[in-house]
């Protein structure tokens, strides 16, 4: 399965369509759209034309020549490549004449001429377009008796991808992808003619966050993924279509397994979301599910630390703690890593117990009122006239959203105005990209709006604000203030909130959003003050994820009784009194909601590890034990209940009903006034701290996937080259970052992408923990940086 073409069905085209044309393929009349390629029209009409270089999501190059068809022309039938020839009204196309058949056989034979005969040991064997089309469109024999091309095989071109140049048929798919889609042209055709070969620059690896896609779209076994090599034969694989929940883009995938073990994720083309692409983190973190470090049995605290125990005893301990605690002293944190059903049932339980303290975020997102603005979808953002980016580096945090926006900007469909603390992956494509620390973004926006060019650009069409928590060291209020600044000037602007964690929007929407302002930070403060008797962590790890490390420590320490539902023994779970092992991704059915509010399904492909079970079942069971009948025994019951009680959910959002592209659920949140913040001056000795995420970090799913765990860049501070002198250390040398709260030691590096006066430190990386310098609620964080002798 290299491409999944889902060009929308002609049936659901708005009638009458001025762009409608009609052509005939092999005598059958086919309705098509002006500008559409013959091969695409043929695909819709189930007239399969063989192809190798053509990919519906990339520009056509017409180089493999496999897709030749005959088109009636003034001078009789002409052979044309259907992947580069647009339809024309009345066009007569034939794919079944002896001439076309001969051409197809000829090309196949030529492609096989230098292709090795190692199918039996090739990862692609069994799902190989070359193999398949050699059967369906080849003559069945090769008369090539000469010596074949020989290259060293296979060679690693990155940490994740191997290249076998002997198998390569030079279709330009991987190289086009790297250039056009990923924007990382680190592989290229080299040499010429019969010696043409795909290569990286000598000792510069194909270090792209998207490299795995090249393996998927390779029409032969030339590119293979290190995590999957020799793991299975395609015919041993079972698969179900699902949704990736690594981040909140919610890319569509198939989950493939063999003998009850997850072996591979592949991208599926969902037109409104991922177009078939995945990032490498999402693609390869299936390894985490198979990790030996997974929790398999409940644990309870004893004198000698955590001890394995039975579910009944573990649940009884939890029930007891919940029974004895007053509702106001119970708090629930997390839910963003699970399904909507998990979060919903825990919200139901909390409601039943009269517990209000709950939050699916960990002081690392935005106030829920961000859902109160008019909401935009990814497609809306990618077709708006103007997109204002007030977000962290999307390439690092929401990679496939980055790809979508990149594509739209590249094709000049949108103009991006970016206001950020340092350059991001989209800066080079932005129409305007300005630097400002969080506290002065709003002011920056007001002055931009005053600019004539900007206001005429904004007046030219719809405007979408892509808003997220750009800097974890700074107050989230800055972002809200900035959104307000835009919406004040452009009332009909809409907002695409980019909260990162997998199902965070789902969890917040189905009942785990804070009540009357008591968010995660408030809950942890209360806990620190000894006012929390029972703290439930739903796949939440405050000790690693709350930007204010001190607050997290005090909060966890202060809780009298901690229950952790998790797949791994995280830092926080290690402090728990009871740890309950839960089913991971791929081990349970349900639904999830992406950053747009789009509900799609996730599926169970393998049985849960050990005795672990889905979070929602645990909630239901506890409810029973505590004498509350929530009236659910099956997932269907849960979804029925959700359909009744959650706005936007209904018959269409159940596992059974839901389709590939899902359903966008409109937000029920009403917009609140935000406490507007003001710009904070920085004293010239200090650096303003900017903390954001990298794609690869210490996150559980990454750290427990062997092929990803060593990709995290590690803790470091990056400053502008001109500031290095002031720091007084050589690039690579160690420096001390300190402020009133604490001090940490990090290696220092330089980059032009960082403006003078700011210090950029990645979040949650191996090495010294920047969170020691951060205090929740502080407007900004300034640090001193000095070399250490």
């Amino acid at each position: 399965m290299t491409t999944i073409d889902n060009t929308t069905d002609v049936a659901d085209m708005p009638e009458p369509d001025p762009n409608a044309v009609s052509i005939t393929i092999n005598g059958r009349t086919v309705a098509a759209r002006k500008g559409e390629l013959i091969i695409a029209a043929a695909d819709r009409a189930d007239e399969y034309i063989p192809r190798f270089c053509y990919h519906p999501r990339m520009s056509s190059v017409g180089m493999c020549r496999q897709c030749l068809v005959e088109v009636e022309g003034p001078r009789g039938p002409m052979m044309v490549v259907s992947c580069m020839t647009p339809v024309a009204d009345g066009q007569v196309v034939r794919t079944d004449t002896p001439q076309v058949k001969r051409a197809h056989e000829g090309i196949i034979e030529l492609l096989l001429a230098n292709h090795p005969l190692d199918c039996p040991v090739c990862d692609k064997g069994g799902e190989c377009p070359l193999q398949d089309q050699a059967f369906s469109h080849g003559a069945g024999e090769s008369r090539f008796v000469e010596e074949k091309r020989h290259y060293e095989k296979p060679i690693p071109i990155s940490d994740l991808v191997f290249l076998d140049r002997e198998r390569c048929i030079l279709c330009d798919r991987c190289t086009r992808f790297a250039d056009e889609v990923a924007g990382d042209p680190l592989i290229s055709f080299t040499q010429r003619g019969n010696n043409t070969q795909v290569m990286t620059f000598p000792d510069e690896p194909f270090a792209s966050y998207f490299s795995g896609n090249t393996v998927q779209i390779c029409p032969v076994g030339a590119l293979t993924a290190q995590p999957y090599r020799f793991k299975a034969r395609p015919w041993d694989l079972e698969q179900r279509e699902s949704t990736c929940t690594t981040c909140s883009v919610g890319c569509r995938t198939v989950v493939q397994s063999s003998r009850d073990e997850l072996l591979r994720y592949q991208g599926v083309d969902s037109d409104p979301v991922n177009w078939g692409w995945l990032c490498d983190r999402g693609r390869f973190n299936f390894q985490s599910v198979n990790s030996d470090d997974r929790l398999t049995h409940p644990l309870t605290k004893s004198a000698s630390g955590l001890q394995q125990t039975s579910w009944s005893e573990a649940l009884e301990n939890v029930a007891r703690s919940l029974r004895h605690a007053s509702p106001t002293s119970i708090a629930v944190l997390g839910g963003a890593r699970g399904t909507n059903e998990d979060a919903f049932m825990w919200a139901q339980l909390a409601d039943a117990l009269g517990v209000t303290a709950r939050d699916a975020q960990l002081a690392d997102g935005l106030p829920v009122s961000v859902f109160g603005y008019p909401q935009a979808t990814i497609d809306a953002a990618c077709s708006a006239a103007t997109v204002i980016l007030l977000a962290p580096d999307l390439k690092e945090e929401l990679p496939v959203l980055h790809i979508r926006l990149r594509d739209a900007a590249n094709k000049k469909k949108i103009r991006i105005i970016e206001v950020s603390a340092q350059e991001t992956g989209l800066s080079s494509l932005a129409w305007k990209s300005v630097r400002a620390d969080g506290s002065s973004v709003a002011a920056e926006i007001r002055s931009l709006m005053a600019d004539a060019a900007v206001s005429s650009q904004i007046a030219s069409g719809p405007l979408v604000v892509v808003a997220g928590r750009s800097n974890l060291a700074e107050s989230a209020d800055h972002v809200m203030t900035s959104i307000d600044a835009v919406c004040a000037a452009v009332p009909n602007a809409s907002v695409l909130p980019v909260l990162r964690r997998g199902n965070v929007r789902g969890a917040l929407s189905v009942g785990l959003s804070p009540r009357n302002g008591a968010d995660a930070a408030a809950i942890l403060e209360a806990s620190a003050a000894g006012r929390v008797d029972c703290l439930v962590l739903l796949g939440a790890d405050p000790l690693s994820d709350v930007p204010d490390a001190d607050l997290a420590r005090r909060g966890i320490a202060g809780a009298k009784f901690v229950v952790a539902l998790d797949t791994f023994l995280t830092a926080s779970a290690a402090h728990a009194d009871v740890v309950l092992p839960v089913a991971a991704y791929g081990e349970k059915d349900g639904t999830t909601m992406n950053l747009e509010g789009r509900v799609t399904n996730v599926v169970q492909k393998i049985t849960p590890r050990g005795t672990s079970r889905a979070d929602w079942m645990i909630a239901a069971e506890l409810a029973d034990m505590l004498g509350h009948d929530l009236g659910v025994t099956t997932l269907a019951d849960v979804q029925k209940k959700m359909a009744q009680s959650v706005v936007g959910f209904g018959a269409t959002t159940t596992s059974v009903a839901i389709k590939r592209d899902g359903v966008v659920v409109s937000s029920a949140v009403t917009r609140e006034a935000v406490a507007s913040t003001t710009s904070v001056a920085r004293n010239s000795y200090d650096f303003r701290l900017s903390v954001g995420r990298k794609l690869y970090d210490n996150a559980v799913g990454t750290a427990t996937s062997p092929s990803l765990s060593n990709l995290a860049p590690g803790a470091r501070v990056t400053v502008n080259p001109l500031d290095l002198e002031r720091v007084g250390a050589p690039a690579g040398g160690n420096v001390r970052l300190s402020n009133a709260h604490s001090s940490i030691v990090l290696p220092v590096f330089v980059s032009e992408s960082v403006p003078r006066g700011s210090a950029v430190v990645p979040f949650n990386q191996p090495g010294a923990d920047v969170r020691e310098l951060i205090r929740h609620g502080e407007s900004v964080v300034d640090v001193r940086i000095e070399a250490i002798a």
Binding site: M63, V81, L110, L112, A113, N114, E141, S142
Partner: protein, 468 residues
């Protein structure tokens, strides 16, 4: 210099003037023909002055009326090509094709080395007439002297105000940028030339949609013209379309430069009258090649550059007239005639050409990348006497995968062959793939016995395909 009897460095040899009308080679006999001084002393830049004295559209019409055929190979009239640019799309560029590398072709290099100012003047006239706002003069990488001479001439011309801002004090301003390649035959193909000029691998683009006049350099309308084509323009502007069409025939007016190489007594470059001069004149005429070497018999000749299907003595009386050469089964191409006498080892000759095109494939499309090399491998086996009769049929089978259907060839009385007219159908993007097959097909069709004498009779055993 002893090691250079054909002519001494730095002067390119090989040209024979004769007393025929000259449109592009009139200055070749002067040792200093490439200097601005000599150029100005011989009507230099008078054509440009004449052009700038008239509205651009007039100049364009003059060129149209003269039917200046493209000399790069396709023979498309320059004036018409300039008219193909889409309305209102700016800027438009001129790219001069000085990548001359078609086997047997030798004329553009002479024009650049011996009369660079004539080319520059031609470029300026084209830019003025077609509203092209920048000109890129792409010279083949291996032509150090041509680059030298054109660079020097451009520097002179800029200094004297013939190129650049307000040319001759007029409202016409255009830059000519000297650009040079780095060794790749295929880059002579106009869309590959543009790729190369954009700093990329010189791989041709598919036409349609990438007709340069519509979507060319940087996606803008771009006129690509051959050096010789443009070199015609100064004379044309000085003397007018009527004078131009008075030479040659209605369909092939003017003159054209032809290089004759191989087994003739006087190989050389000749500016001949278009349309009327025949191959017999050229090969046997006293003012031309003066017959086959050592009084040998003529065996075959390639009429239009290495890509062209071959002719035998049966075709000697054809004139340099596309409308007659095409139906006869070949093309005039780039004005290159390669002559093979009776002593020629035909399979080996075909091999050298096939080897060339296989080696020069850009690698973009499958039939050329794989098929060209395959043809070469089989052919060299046959030439080395290691081939079988099955190999001969296999050559044609591979050819069928590159060029489906009947492939053009000449008629032949002895063999009772009737001609298959040019052009052929092709499964490739550009002509390199088919060109690898053309010599094989011609040689096999016209001289099959020479191949059969080389191979052992054996029926071949199929190798089953991958994955079975």
């Amino acid at each position: 210099m002893t090691s250079n009897p054909g002519g001494t460095w730095p002067h390119a040899p090989g040209f024979y003037a004769g007393d025929r009308p000259k449109i592009v080679t009139s200055r070749f006999e002067h040792e200093d023909s490439y200097t601005l001084t000599r150029y100005l002393a011989t009507d230099g830049y008078a054509g440009l002055r004449a052009a700038l004295g008239r509205p651009a559209s007039d100049v364009h019409d003059e060129v149209k009326n003269a039917t200046v055929l493209g000399r790069g190979g396709a023979g498309f009239p320059a004036g018409n090509k300039w008219g193909l640019t889409p309305q209102g799309v700016w800027p438009r560029y001129l790219v001069v094709n000085g990548d001359e590398s078609e086997p047997g072709t030798y004329k553009d290099r002479l024009l650049m080395e011996r009369d660079p100012h004539q080319l520059i003047e031609g470029c300026l006239i084209a830019c003025y007439a077609a509203g092209l706002s920048q000109c890129f003069l792409y010279i083949r990488g291996e032509m150090a002297l041509a680059q030298e001479r054109v660079a020097a001439a451009l520097n002179e011309a800029y200094a004297a105000g013939y190129v650049g801002k307000n040319i001759l004090g007029s409202r016409f301003s255009v830059d000519i940028v000297l650009h040079w390649g780095a060794g790749a035959y295929v880059v002579g193909e106009e869309t590959a030339l543009i790729e190369s000029l954009e700093g990329n691998r010189g791989m041709p683009r598919l036409k349609p949609p990438y007709f340069p006049a519509a979507i060319g350099l940087y996606g803008q309308p771009t006129i690509v013209n051959n050096v010789e084509t443009l070199a015609n323009l100064p004379w044309l502007m000085r003397n007018g379309a009527a004078a131009y069409t008075a030479i040659g025939t209605a369909t092939s007016p003017g003159t054209r430069m032809v290089a004759v190489s191989g087994h003739v007594n006087r190989p050389g470059v000749y500016e001949i009258i278009n349309g009327t001069t025949t191959f017999r004149d050229l090969l046997y005429g006293d003012e031309f090649c003066q017959g086959i070497r050592n009084g040998n018999e003529l065996k075959a000749f390639v009429p239009g550059g290495g890509s062209a299907p071959w002719f035998t003595p049966d075709q000697l009386d054809l004139p340099f007239e596309a409308s007659q050469v095409g139906p006869a089964g070949s093309m005039l191409g780039s004005g290159a005639v390669m002559v093979m006498d009776s002593t020629t080892d035909i399979p080996r000759a075909a091999l050298t050409l096939t080897k060339f095109y296989a080696h020069e494939s850009c690698g973009k499309c499958t039939p050329c990348r794989e098929g060209g090399t395959w043809l070469e491998r089989i052919l060299s086996r046959v030439v080395d006497g290691k081939g079988t009769d099955a190999d001969l049929d296999q050559l044609l089978e591979v050819g069928e995968s590159i060029c489906p259907g009947a492939f053009p060839h000449a008629s032949n009385e002895k063999l009772g062959l009737t001609a298959v007219p040019f052009p052929y159908r092709m499964n490739t993007i550009c002509f390199v793939g088919p060109s690898a097959y053309a010599p094989v097909h011609s040689a096999l069709t016209l001289f099959r016995s020479e191949f059969e004498a080389r191979v052992t009779k054996r029926t071949h055993i199929p190798v089953t395909a991958v994955g079975q």
